[in-house]
């Protein structure tokens, strides 16, 4: 077991957080509100981030093809809204509806990625991009019937943004909120996330989970000791895809809207950045690292918005986020590359 130590990204982000906190304090922005928001955003984005773990640990690298799973989840969400399901049961129904699509797409995506071993990341990126444009064609002609999802004029094709108010907007956010002074803790939401993370942790303790790790560490050795490498890799992709589908369900209910068409195009990059921020640098990733990374990433997100507004340049928050996201991913790639070079 490697002793955990701070890497440049963590040092940088902790420093940045300290500066931002000081600025927020100085600008009179209440910190309790920020903490509450960042707990909500942790879960809102956290499921998408942990969805990357099975593929990372199976040695397929970062799942830049996250949109594949997201589209499966969007389909589940649309089915649930079309059936006018409401409340927590509506959300869980949407998650259940997205499983068959997630398994099927994950299987096909996994087979595709097995063809391009060593180049999974770039291939996944473009499989994801092109799948989004295929789904664009689908959303434009899909035979849904609930008028609140369709274009108001003409009544054909889905709207780019579907409001979930009246269905299951923020049901998880508002499930069992505990107020500690000014701080609102979304206990139900955190509990849901904890159960999911524990499930994933338990999965890596099973025989299949151990095989996933073994394939990720040394494919040849795993194959020699009787593991069916192809099967395990495809299983990891299916698991990642289904989790990504659930991730977008949680994200959409938290946001209050389903965003279709090109909205998920770039969603893989902040998620990848969050996972690296937690201390996973290309090798085996623990669930807890993903959670820490997401929390740090989302806290900077929450805190930078009001500060940028106070500074009169609102765009700066978005730009800084973009720089941060990609700088962290690039750092992780450089770190991994240097490690491989050192090993020869």
């Amino acid at each position: 077991m490697k002793t955990p130590h701070l890497q440049i990204p963590q040092v940088f982000i902790l420093g940045m957080l300290a500066v931002l906190m000081a600025m927020a304090f100085w600008a009179g922005i209440p910190l309790s509100g920020i903490m509450g928001d960042s707990l909500v955003r942790l879960v809102m984005n956290g499921v998408l981030v942990v969805s990357m773990i099975p593929m990372l640990n199976a040695g397929l690298g970062v799942n830049f093809g996250l949109p594949v799973g997201i589209c499966a989840g969007l389909l589940g969400l649309c089915l649930a809204v079309n059936l006018r399901l409401t409340g927590l049961s509506g959300l869980f129904a949407a998650m259940a509806f997205s499983v068959p699509g997630g398994v099927l797409l994950g299987y096909l995506y996994g087979r595709l990625l097995h063809r391009v071993r060593g180049r999974e990341e770039i291939a996944g990126t473009f499989v994801g991009f092109s799948f989004i444009s295929v789904m664009n064609l689908f959303w434009a002609v899909a035979p849904f019937t609930n008028p609140s999802m369709l274009w108001p004029i003409g009544g054909k094709g889905l709207r780019p943004v579907i409001g979930l108010k009246g269905y299951f907007a923020k049901v998880l956010n508002h499930a069992w909120v505990v107020h500690l002074g000014d701080l609102a803790v979304p206990v139900g939401m955190l509990a849901f996330f904890a159960v999911l993370c524990l499930g994933l942790y338990a999965f890596f303790r099973t025989k299949t989970g151990a095989a996933v790790n073994a394939v990720g560490e040394n494919e040849v050795f795993a194959g020699l000791s009787g593991v069916n490498v192809r099967r395990i890799r495809i299983a990891a992709v299916i698991l990642s895809t289904v989790l990504a589908a659930w991730g977008i369900c949680v994200y959409a209910q938290s946001y209050g809207f389903i965003e279709l068409y090109s909205a998920p195009l770039m969603m893989a990059f902040p998620a990848a950045s969050a996972i690296f921020l937690g201390g996973s640098l290309g090798h085996r990733t623990a669930v807890v690292q993903a959670v820490i990374g997401t929390f740090l990433f989302q806290t900077t997100y929450v805190i930078s918005g009001p500060i940028a507004n106070a500074l009169l340049v609102p765009e700066v928050a978005e730009i800084l986020r973009m720089i941060l996201t990609n700088a962290i991913i690039l750092y992780a790639m450089l770190y991994e590359g240097r490690r491989r070079r050192a090993q020869g």
């Binding site: 180049r119 990341e121 295929v134 664009n136 990059f269 730009i319 973009m322 990609n326």
Partner: protein
């Protein structure tokens, strides 16, 4: 062993079918294709060298485009005009793209085997830094001389900067009327000249080194080639060509969308190169020239064809986005083999 690449044929058939259903006149389409050829030709040519050097598709051509845009914004800020202004833009763009190319090359040598995804991330990171400078830096740390291009709040440049002093300077030279189609002969020759230079370069000792490194990094090193240096040269060349290509592109458009003009240039250029029959392991100048023609023919006719076949112009629009991404995804999935 060389398999026949069916991609150009597919593009030809699709364009033909879409042209038939679009009801656009062939003369109009031909004119548009010529315009796109001179706009995008050099950018697509910029991708040939890194593929030959075994680095795959260079999505960081956006950085070369950014270098060109920096030059343009500065030229407008300093009130430069006409031909001298264009020369100043080119000089500034080239200087910047040389520096950026060296940096990108050094980074890519550290991530060997994952160059393509790294170039994508580099492109996004550079976009962020560029936007930070011109959205926030301008008006705070950098004092503008030209107040007209600033946002009313005094910080940041407007989204659109008019390039009136440079518009179509090069396109108006030697315009030839071929029937109903107007051909700016000078610019066509410029693109072809770039193509000839690159084709010639591939036969020089430097070109042989690119090929040797492309065929095998370790093998090239055993032959005594400084493979890392050769790879840096390939990326510098690509970035410089991308910068020149983007200058040609923007002076043709005549307006600079300061924050977004460079986005997706990488996607369209890569898709065009692959449409011409290149793969991520092998590309030459012919692929680039043929690819621009085929890719843009389909691009021009598909929205109208979508409108006429499905009574929905959006479908044609989605279809052509799919074509751009799908062509690249297809090439990445199909070319298994090495590595």
């Amino acid at each position: 062993m060389r398999r026949v690449n069916a991609v150009p044929a597919v593009f030809l058939v699709l364009s033909g079918v879409a042209l038939y259903y679009s009801d656009l006149s062939p003369a109009f389409v031909a004119g548009e294709v010529v315009t796109r050829f001179i706009r995008d030709g050099v950018m697509v040519l910029a991708l040939v060298v890194p593929v030959t050097a075994g680095m795959g598709l260079n999505f960081a051509v956006t950085v070369g485009a950014l270098a060109a845009q920096v030059g343009m914004v500065l030229a407008v800020d300093w009130g430069l005009q006409g031909g001298t202004g264009l020369l100043a833009i080119t000089a500034m763009g080239l200087a910047l793209s040389l520096v950026f190319g060296c940096i990108i090359g050094a980074v890519l040598n550290l991530v060997r085997g994952k160059e393509m995804i790294a170039t994508m991330i580099i492109g996004f990171l550079a976009t962020g830094l560029y936007q930070l400078v011109f959205m926030v830096g301008y008006g705070t740390f950098i004092k503008p001389t030209n107040r007209e291009m600033m946002l009313s709040r005094g910080i940041g440049i407007r989204n659109m900067v008019d390039l009136e002093p440079f518009r179509n300077i090069m396109d108006r030279l030697w315009v030839v009327q071929a029937g109903p189609v107007e051909i700016p002969l000078f610019m066509v020759l410029v693109v072809l000249a770039f193509a000839c230079v690159i084709a010639y370069l591939m036969n020089t000792p430097l070109g042989q080194q690119f090929k040797a490194v492309g065929e095998g990094y370790e093998k090239a090193r055993m032959l005594g080639i400084d493979a890392d240096a050769v790879r840096v040269k390939a990326i510098v060349l690509s970035t410089v060509l991308a910068c020149l290509g983007h200058i040609i592109f923007t002076q043709n458009i005549g307006m600079l969308n300061v924050y977004t003009a460079h986005m997706n240039t990488d996607i369209f250029a890569c898709a065009a190169l692959l449409a011409g029959g290149a793969s991520i392991l092998r590309a030459h100048v012919g692929h680039a020239l043929l690819g621009v023609l085929l890719f843009h023919s389909l691009f021009i006719v598909s929205p109208q064809a979508g409108q006429n076949i499905f009574a929905n112009a959006a479908l044609g629009e989605y279809f052509r986005t799919f074509v751009a991404y799908g062509t690249i995804a297809f090439a990445l999935v199909m070319s298994t083999g090495k590595r």
